[in-house]
Assembly symmetry: C2
Homo-oligomer: 211 residues x 2
């Protein structure tokens, strides 16, 4: 990707995180990125094209800052938990990325042309998480009866919901992280053992069946 | 509440659900509600006041359409599950309400004056859900080790996240409802029993402890 293209996408993410997609005008973006509006149109075609590429840029950037220190090969379960928790950090890039992602999702409710890119980025994230759960099941750190695709979709949806509650002032960051850790514990039980578990966390209990 | 005040709030919800908060101008709302802009300012003071009252209106309306057929006294667990599932319906009022709620939450990231009302409405919803979980624990349909406040906050957050994924085209309504039912099953295990449970759903397994 050309340097100026990257500069434009970084600037678009900053502007969206600061004032929302609906506050984004190409003239202002050009000023923020210190380029001409013509260059923006040259690289992205139109506003919708710019929004799609910004979504893609945000997803790829999230992959970098959510890269855990634990290897997915040696411990896929810990890798997944770290990856999800790294979405909830009081670091400028993470907050900016989360705010822009949430805003683009909210905008897609009203602007259908964003939906395909959003669906694709969401699908990739869910699939990556599901793959980690399956590897954890093979490694014996997640119960084999867990449906990886379901738990992955729920956990990533919960991350989005917690992020929105945090950024909109309805919950604290510490609380959001605590709730997410609890969700990992209840979504991904260790393989069943008969005895009582030491120091169970919330939700870490055997479930009976319901409809 | 006066009839015209209600008409204005209904119209505001419709407009927000159709085009977003950022697309809402008082002149257009006046046209939609068939009242004068002066009447809107008379009832709500300013745009921020109008937004706060709209949030409150949406919350109260949600309480009505999510009122389950099962009594919270006779079966608080089923009441809670129904109440949450009723947020995910392909009915015009529900879609409109969910779209407007999600949009107001997304807007609160950028407009701090919305946050207090949003936090209050969120708190009331979470507390109501937590109360049902505690009653279900007393009634013996939810394990006593579940932390009601945590599960309530997670389940309501998940409803918001699923609703946004549905409305933004990243998941289907059926899938969202299936994922929510699975979340209720894994968040709210029945009181622990030693034997295997019949037909366990996803996540319905005994959990070991993790950090």
């Amino acid at each position: 990707m050309s340097d100026r293209r990257t500069l434009i996408l970084q600037a678009a993410t900053r502007v969206i995180a600061r004032r929302g997609v609906r506050g984004l005008r190409v003239e202002e973006l050009a000023a923020e990125a210190k380029v001409s509006t013509a260059l923006i149109y040259y690289h992205f075609g139109d506003r919708a094209g710019l929004m799609r590429r910004t979504l893609e840029f945000i997803s790829e950037r999230a992959e970098r800052y959510t890269e855990p220190s634990v290897s997915p090969r040696s411990d896929p379960r810990a890798h997944l938990e770290q990856m999800l928790l790294l979405e909830l950090q009081d670091a400028p890039t993470v907050k900016e990325n989360s705010a822009a992602w949430g805003e683009l999702r909210a905008t897609a409710v009203f602007e259908p042309e964003l939906r395909e890119q959003l669906r694709y980025s969401t699908y990739e994230w869910v699939e990556y998480a599901a793959g980690l759960i399956r590897r954890a099941q093979e490694a014996g750190t997640v119960d084999e009866d867990v449906i990886a695709a379901d738990s992955a979709e729920r956990l990533t949806t919960l991350v989005e919901g917690l992020s929105e509650r945090w950024l909109s002032g309805s919950t604290s960051l510490d609380r959001a992280r605590e709730l997410l850790r609890g969700a990992v514990a209840s979504e991904l039980p260790l393989p069943g053992r008969p005895g009582p578990a030491p120091a169970p966390a919330a939700g870490d209990r055997r479930a009976g069946a319901q409809d």
